[in-house]
């Protein structure tokens, strides 16, 4: 098992967290640098495997996707859909103002 670590600089950790929309405290950046670097170093062992000529396998279900009639099967569930909303206004979800 490979034990080398992939060096991740603090800016890379902050950039990934921004892409994932997770706010990081500054103290977490250094810790995650170590943890994520160790995990990425470990998974780099796949570099040993010869995959030339191999097609990527995305989904194990061999069957082709099935199609159904393009008709409404459900609806008029506004209250059920909104029942778990942290904030709502009438039939709408609400969020902080996006456009000034």
């Amino acid at each position: 098992m490979s034990s080398s670590s992939v060096p991740l600089d603090p800016d890379t950790v902050r950039r990934i967290a921004r892409l994932a929309r997770i706010r990081l405290a500054e103290k977490d950046v250094a810790q995650l640098q170590g943890e994520l670097g160790a995990i990425l170093g470990w998974i780099e062992q796949l570099n040993e495997v010869d995959v030339s000529g191999v097609d990527p396998l995305a989904n194990i279900g061999a069957a082709a996707m099935t199609m159904r009639e393009d008709v409404v099967t459900d609806g008029n569930q506004t209250d059920a859909v909104l029942a778990n909303a942290p904030a709502r206004s009438g039939p709408f979800f609400t969020v902080p103002k996006v456009v000034e």
Partner: protein, 493 residues
Amino acid sequence: MTLEFTLASARAALRRRTISARELTQAHLDAVAALEPHIHAFITVTPDMALAQADAADAALARGKAGPLAGLPVAIKDVFCTKGVKTTAASRILEPFVPPYESTVTANMLRDGAVFLGKLNLDEFAMGSATTNSAFGATINPWQRADSNTPLVPGGSSGGSAAAVASGMALAATGTDTGGSIRQPASYCGIVGIKPTYGRCSRYGVVAFASSLDQPGPFARTVEDAAILLGSMAGHDPKDSTSANRAVPDFAAATQRGVKGLKIGVPREYRVDGMPPEIEALWRQGLDWLRAEGAEIVDVSLPHTKYGLATYYIVAPAEASSNLARYDGVRYGLRVPANDLKDLYEETRAAGFGAEVRRRILIGTYVLSAGYYDAFYLKAQKVRALILKDFTDAFGQVDALLTPTTPSAAFAIGENEDDPVKMYLNDIFTVPASIAGIPGMSVPAGLDAQGLPLGLQVLGRHFDEETIFAVGAALERAAGFTARPRIRMGEGA
């Protein structure tokens, strides 16, 4: 009293009316009340709903119109959406969530008359191997080492399911398995667990972790019970485009087939360095049992086994980072108020996700990001194809494979917490089958020197769970596993 029943024997007693569904349910609710402070298997207990369902089952039994699970008290891993009952995935971010709809698997069980005792603990979003990653506290394994009362993990992620069934709080339970989350806790708790073929059970209404790997399955104390519950859970569902349009076989009948004439493969790559000698010995013992029942043992090779874990820890986090993007604080779940939308997203997700879930989202985001996609994600998908081909080649020679379920018995709470990769190694024997989508079962087969249960894993061809049930039942008969955990309902209690 609860541990004296199996799903099958309780069903027979209900049909004979020697016990009522209400009595059986009350006995299980009493077991939950007595054991829950020691085990913490549940996130939510639903006694009123359970007793109402029991009364409905008694009425159906009296009319002679009872379904296959009528009046049988079971419990549900808290990743299955249950209409009107909080469903948290053991995460702060879903803590307030009450689903307005029922998952297909639980709907199938309700159709068949099951009684739901409540919702079971797990690792947050099913990410973990010890059930220590729950936002609502760890579950304790009902088993203890012979010479100590150190609390042990029940395995994970379906640790609440395994602990509840092993200790007698529920006759059976549902779980989900993405890389071993049914088979590993079943092994650690001395019970039976099966991950069916990918597509056998609908994923509709199951909180998603890694969609190309996730698969629901049952926990039970006997192979026959697992077959009964899977028969109810399984089936085609138009609401899940990956659910297989195949008839559900009579799994319980398959437990009676025997193994005469079957070819059982022994994959040589599962003999790993540092495996405890007693696990190696149990594995040999299992092969001897099957040989004595008329099976032929064949050495096979699965050459890419050692790359299974690394492949898994690219594919699963990648899918998780995508699936968990939905938790944004807008439509349901936790919201941390903020002045603009981006802050709302970032603060909500920082507060809502635990450390392991955050790690996996970040790894997944990294391996899918521009410049790294080909090196990590595409590469992993190609190795995944090679791992599938290993199994396809092996199943050209043999009908099933026998391996240990885990490289160790249950470990103490707090062990393996210092290094994420060390924790990941628990799944070394279970992950390859998940990657290939094939079915796998863990059967309790013996005890280690400390008195802790050890499981053997049976793997089969796609959609051939029946052979797994035949082999699992043969192992169960030969092993005669009757040991019980220390924390349990007393006989007569």
